[in-house]
């Protein structure tokens, strides 16, 4: 029993160790185009039907990718580039909804709903637990009934 606990702890340590090792060592360096497309996937192609700048092959999308490249060359950070595009095309260009004002509700509401659902489930379990503490004793008569039913099926409580 005790040894078992140690074994589990060892497994946990191995797992965490491996993940931490993998998370700390540097991944192979991305190309500058990787950054370009990562940024482009956060912007809407304004001339397309709901596609991002990264996904679209429309002329405007290719032009916008050129603009992003230009901004990257001038040494701007990701946030600065996104702000530049938001100023130029309006907030709608950003595919990531803002985290302030009315729009932030889109982030908050799911978390509230999830928390409420978890809490509700927890309460339900607490209630069921209270109920099961008041379970009626199973009488010998009942047990007999079950035994007879099972015997009739020709076998014990198997599956």
């Amino acid at each position: 029993m005790r040894r078992h606990r140690w074994a589990w702890a060892a497994m946990g340590i191995v797992l965490v160790g491996l993940v931490v090792f993998g998370a700390r060592s540097t991944p192979d360096a991305g190309t500058s185009d990787d950054r370009l497309f990562a940024l482009a996937s956060q912007m809407r192609c304004m001339a397309c039907a709901g596609e991002s700048v990264s996904n679209s092959q429309a002329p405007l999308a290719i032009e916008m990718r050129g603009l992003i490249r230009q901004q990257m060359r001038s040494g701007k950070t990701d946030d600065e580039i996104l702000t530049y595009f938001a100023d130029r095309y309006g907030e709608r260009v950003l595919l990531r909804p803002a985290s302030s004002g009315l729009v932030s509700l889109v982030w908050i509401v799911p978390i509230v709903v999830a928390a409420a659902a978890v809490a509700g489930l927890g309460l339900a379990f607490a209630r069921w637990r209270r109920m099961s503490e008041t379970v009626a004793e199973v009488s010998e008569e009942d047990r007999d009934l079950v035994r007879r039913a099972l015997a009739k099926r020709g076998g014990g409580p198997t599956r």
Partner: protein, 655 residues
Amino acid sequence: MNLALGVAGLVLGMIGALGGMTSQLVGLRGGRARILERAPGYAALCFLGAAVSFIAMERALLTNDTTVRYVADHGSSRTPFPFDVAALWSALEGSILLWSLILGGFTIAVALKFRRKLSDPLVGWAMVVMFIVCAFFFALMLGPASPFRSYNPAPGFDGPGPNVLLQNHVLMAFHPPMLYLGYVGFTVPFAFAIGALITGRLGEGWLIETRRWTLLAYGFLTAGIVLGAWWSYEVLGWGGYWAWDPVEIASFLPWLTASAFIHSVMMQERRGLLRVWNLSLLCATFSLTILGTFLTRSGVIESVHAFSESDIGAWLLSFFGVIVAVSVVLIGWRGDLLRSPGRIDSPLSREGAFLANNLVFSVFAFVCLLGVTFPLIVEAVRNDRISVGEPFFNRMTTPLGLALLFLMGVAPVLPWRRTNAETLRQRLWWPAWCAPGAVAVALAFGARGAEPLIAFALGGFAAGSALRQVGLATRRQGWRGFVGRANGGMIVHLGVIVIAVAIAASGSYQHQGEFSLAEGATARVAGHTLRYEGSRVVEAENRRELRARIRIDGGAVFEPRINQYLATGQEIGTPSVDVGFRRDIYLSLQRAASAENATIGLRVIVAPLVQWLWFGGAIMVLGTALSAFPGRRRRNPLDPVSQPVAETRDQPVPV
């Protein structure tokens, strides 16, 4: 000729639907079995009507009969096989026709399957619902979305052909029919749910009757979604397969609620729990298929699938409203009958895990629904347009996906009712070791970064549990260890895990580059060398293909191309992919060489494990089929499972 035949088919179908509905209602009212048993005849009329219209439309498309407006708009004499056949579902009206054909097929199949039980009021009411849904779709086609409008073509007129995106890959011949088989299939369990509510026979009988219908629809929906992702990868030229486009989400929403249902229904069948919830999930699944159709076909939301917009939005929204209202009212009305007697003893049990699963799936569906409708809400409140796209969905759904992977690891080994720590420790020992094992393998292949590694760890854990269950089942039951609900379900889990690993890997470790290359020039991406060897032009029947010849790593030559469609002059790219088990090299031609500019624009994406997605999808479909296969006999309903057991120490925990 085709026009007349098509309209005649629609009228025939409408007569079948309305006649069937009326006769069923009359039969139910008078309790007259003789009348109820006529349902197959009316169902046959529905199917026959839809089939006649469908054949008329296909005939019109194949012979390019431009007196039919739809053919003039979406057909062309130069569209090659099989795209001329698939042109039927390349736009709204034809899609509705395909939908009706499948619905007619399901209606007749249900009527025949239950032919010995047609006098049962529950089946009678289910048939009423099927006929009403049929009538709605025939009404759509006789009214606002008529595929058979007449057209008076000028001499020599030839249509533009289907949307060029849809002529670009043969998968378009399979993806929509699969998806519709899934969507429409959920009508059957919904109809039986309504029948059970109306008759008040809310025991578990109707659920067991419709179990395989639900699985059938679920399998087709899964296949449809995966094929759609594959199509997107092969055609759209951005090296991805899922963009959180509203139409993708619309197909995903019913899949999520159906997944929740397939799990939680087991609690009802086994222990009589969660009746209200299960009914609600079924009603939600069906109404979400209609809502999804509304969102994407009414033009309220911008989508890459906008080729099938029209003004049937109001119809679909009203129908959706009616479905929701009827479901809510019926569930409320039958609330007393639905109270389940049982309860869940411990959170650490199969039931507890299913509840957690349902919670995650529901929140998942809620996030998707909120994300897709939120821009509409903001526009209504503030008159301001915002976007909710990929970054939002990725951020919100990643933790939910990881939670599902974790549950897939724990839940299969949990016994029903309750468990103790010792059992759990013993059963989870080897599956748990699969987590560090998977991480170690991933590290050996060069995977780095916390998020994907956590996904691999949980994937390994879940795979360990699934394999443990499959192993135990096959050892006990031989080949039958692969079939039946629980065993087939484990196969589905393995498919989901393969897909999850593929999503994590291809999303996290992809490298891209966009290049302008002159002939003979090379580009390098992620250690691969791509040499532009020159261009060539291929003349096809309906298009000119401007192909660039790209040699990968000094080996094989691939030819991404741009297709110029002659009928419309539209240009659209077709990527070329060097597929592999470990990685894909995806080449997408963005600009062909021309007289003014001899260079080509080439986009290169190197992504690992993309092919695993389709493989995982195939495993999921196979698993769904296996779980519909009759497994070992269900346990005897007399078995004592629904009464609480007293804590006993001398009894072994049932395996």
